[in-house]
């Protein structure tokens, strides 16, 4: 499945069932280290096949939240249910529903790629024939089949990251949890990793993705939870989050002709808050910018303006985060 197919699948919901029962339920998760509250009463749910992004700066509580979800850490308070089964640090079999990809490259450098995968697969109790098949499949998925016999210590950073993800997929989990999987990765490998995740999500695997890279979360996730200082301060689709803060889209119309006439006409439209002439055409601030496009084109034609291009720039999550917390994501 290529990137375009993935995009189409995301748009159409192909391979997903977004109205099914939640695959993950987190209720009132809390964790304190000494005097510091790392996670403070966090609750959210992820539906089957949904990609959910947990966005927040370093130290916001993303990894601690994920650690409690995966049963790596004791919760001070709260409950985690994955595929109908409660998860805590003593759980064993119920953890099989989760595929965890930690922030670090959690692999053994002195084992080969295939040996690493076989080891992790065995821990999930995969029978030897199934394990062999799954190792081959995930190696193919992450493009490491040719290098599978080499020790991981000889892999590049990007290859290690890809194998790190592969290790979380062996047992075909219903929920894939990725904790900042692209940290320190070159752009090419980063794109390959994101494509893999898009592909898996399009095929129906639910994804919980944490990052402080706004672009990644925007690209991958259906819904986003914004976490800061241990608290989930906002949640929803990107559009919903943007609407929460009441920001408008910016529409850049590249055009030639009577631009002032076009700007004046645009200002009269109900959803346009402002319009002005720029160096290359007319710039407008509007709600639901994409929906405005047919009207803008019609208006331009009436004003005798020849339009060469239109770009709708929606407010991003960075702006949302800045609005909610008063600080930038990378602070």
């Amino acid at each position: 499945m290529g990137a375009r197919d993935v995009e189409r699948a995301k748009e159409t919901g192909e391979g997903k069932d977004k109205v099914s029962d939640p695959i993950l339920i987190c209720n009132n998760l809390s964790k304190t280290f000494g005097e510091r509250t790392a996670v403070d009463d966090v609750s959210f749910q992820i539906q089957e096949g949904e990609a959910y992004g947990l966005l927040g700066p370093n130290g916001a509580g993303k990894t601690t939240t994920i650690s409690m979800i995966c049963g790596l850490m004791r919760k001070d308070k709260g409950e985690v249910v994955v595929a109908g089964q409660t998860i805590d640090e003593r759980s064993t079999k119920s953890k099989s529903g989760i595929g965890y990809v930690p922030q670090e490259v959690a692999l053994y450098p002195d084992l080969s790629g295939a040996e690493n995968l076989k080891f992790w697969g065995k821990l999930y109790g995969l029978p030897s024939e199934v394990l062999k098949k799954r190792v081959s499949e995930v190696l193919e998925l992450v493009g490491l089949t040719d290098r599978s016999a080499e020790r991981v210590s000889k892999y590049s950073g990007g290859m290690k990251r890809r194998l790190n993800i592969a290790a979380g997929l062996l047992h075909e989990p219903r929920l894939l949890v990725l904790d900042e999987p692209t940290v320190g990765v070159d752009p090419q490998s980063r794109n390959a990793i994101l494509e893999n995740i898009e592909k898996l999500n399009a095929e129906g695997m639910a994804v919980l993705y944490t990052s402080h890279y706004m672009e990644e979360v925007e690209r991958l996730c259906d819904r986003v939870g914004i976490i800061d200082e241990g608290k989930l301060i906002a949640e929803g689709t990107r559009r919903e989050l943007v609407e929460q803060i009441g920001q408008t889209d910016r529409i850049e119309v590249a055009a030639e002709g009577d631009l002032n006439k076009l700007a004046k006409a645009a200002k009269r439209l109900k959803d346009v808050e402002d319009a002005s002439v720029s160096d290359t055409g007319v710039q407008m601030l509007a709600h639901e910018g994409r929906n405005m496009l047919p009207k803008i084109l019609e208006m331009s034609e009436k004003a005798g303006v020849r339009v060469s291009g239109v770009e709708v720039i929606e407010p991003d999550l960075e702006a949302v985060f800045l609005h909610l917390t008063g600080k930038a994501l990378r602070d």
Binding site: S67, C70, G71, L72, M73, R74, E89, R90, S91, T92, K93, S94, K95, S96, I98, Y100, P102, Q103, E104, V105, A106, L107, Y108, D110, L111, E115, F119, W120, K122, L123, Y124, G125, A167
Partner: protein, 393 residues
């Protein structure tokens, strides 16, 4: 349980790929044991020892002592040559031609007959401590026996009036023959085998390096935590207990393999003898468990791998010095000999030597095994408790 085996198998594979295990577990202890063994000179490799005897007393009892030294029981272990001059014997010892020598002073017989304590002087080169110890044990055994016999004779003659010298001598000979000095010497002769340096320093070095090998295994939890694999292990259907058990199993296998290999190798190469194989095997296993407990204890009280390495190094050196891994503890001052009884390695080394000296089996060393195991159970129990908390930190 299945996951514990999987984790143990993975750890073993990683350890064997990391060549340091061969250095720490086999090469280094064997090399050090060899060097120390060779440093003990003729005592180390040769089973034969030549002892000198200067008989200045020329009495029946001194002759009995000389005959005892040349008896069939002792001739397999030592050769005795008689000399007239003490100075000549000293020179021969200095040159290394003699391992040690006995000097029966004039008046030895008279001292016995008058009921006084009698002594046989032992001469030995300072660097040949083991030969000196053997000679000392033989002389002490003989004089103790003859002094007690003298006392028994004196008691037997009481009330008979003044005895004639001939009567006294006859009774002394008779009493000595009933319990000949050789009976004492036989025990010492057996001890001469135990005292082969390889028999001592083989296990001593193996136990010393065992601490490092096992410490590395115990530290692997900290290493896995630092590299992130511990989190991933916990995310799988593996309980913290299974993870710890896997580590314990792999560490145990490596520890027993290392100690066992060293014992076998020193036996094959240096002819070291260790006594009853079953008892030795159980002793090795129990020692490994005790070392695992102690190193696990140290590691679980450390926050980082580096801290565990540093603290562990200090603890190992202290235990090795107190337990007699570098210097035979029987040559140490009394205080150190007592302290060695409070270290598992000290008790283990003592038990290794006792197995040869006394020729006992598993039953005879049960108290020692229990003491060593107690170290392992107490420290290991705390370590396992803390390890569970550490895994889920």
């Amino acid at each position: 349980m299945r996951n514990a085996f999987t984790i143990a198998a993975k750890d073993l594979r990683l350890r064997f790929r990391d060549k340091s295990i061969f250095i720490l577990g086999f090469i280094a202890p064997f090399a050090l044991a060899t060097i120390i063994t060779l440093a003990f000179g003729g005592d180390a490799l040769g089973g034969e020892r030549t002892f000198g005897l200067v008989d200045q007393d020329k009495s029946e009892i001194s002759r009995a002592f000389a005959e005892g030294l040349k008896s069939r029981d002792l001739e397999e272990i030592l050769i005795t040559k008689e000399y007239a001059d003490v100075e000549q014997v000293r020179r021969l010892i200095d040159k290394g031609d003699l391992s040690a020598a006995f000097v029966v002073p004039s008046g030895f017989n008279a001292a016995i007959q008058s009921g006084e304590k009698s002594h046989i002087q032992v001469l030995a080169h300072p660097e040949r401590q083991i030969s000196g110890e053997i000679a000392g044990a033989i002389a002490l055994g003989f004089t103790s026996r003859i002094n007690s016999t003298s006392l028994a004779v004196s008691t037997a003659l009481a009330g008979e009036g003044p005895p004639s010298p001939g009567r006294v001598n006859a009774l002394v000979d008779e009493a000595a023959l009933i319990e000949p000095p050789i009976a004492v010497v036989e025990r010492s002769a057996a001890s001469s085998k135990e005292l082969k340096p390889a028999s001592y320093f083989g296990p001593a070095m193996a136990i010393f390096f065992l601490f490092f090998i096992i410490q590395f295994g115990a530290r692997s939890i900290l290493i896995e935590r630092a590299q992130g694999t511990l989190s991933r292990l916990l995310s799988t259907p593996s309980s913290p207990g299974a993870i710890i058990l896997g580590k314990v199993m792999s560490t145990f296998v490596i520890g027993v393999a290392s100690l066992g290999t060293l014992v076998i190798t020193t036996s094959l190469v240096f002819g070291a003898e260790f006594g009853d194989p079953l008892a030795v095997a159980v002793l090795c296993i129990v020692t490994v468990l005790a070392v695992m407990g102690i190193t696990g204890f140290v590691v679980t009280f450390s926050k980082t791998d580096q801290q565990a390495d540093s603290i562990g190094g200090v603890v190992v050196m202290a235990l090795a010095l107190l337990g007699g891994n570098f210097i035979p503890i029987n040559q140490a001052p009394e205080l150190f000999r007592r302290l060695a009884d409070f270290t598992p390695n000290g008790i283990a080394l003592k038990t290794f030597t006792e197995l040869i000296a006394e020729g006992g089996g598993l039953l005879s060393i049960l108290p020692a095994l229990a003491s060593i195991l107690a170290f392992g159970v107490v420290t290991g129990g705390i370590a396992v408790f803390r390890a569970r908390r550490m895994v889920l930190a």
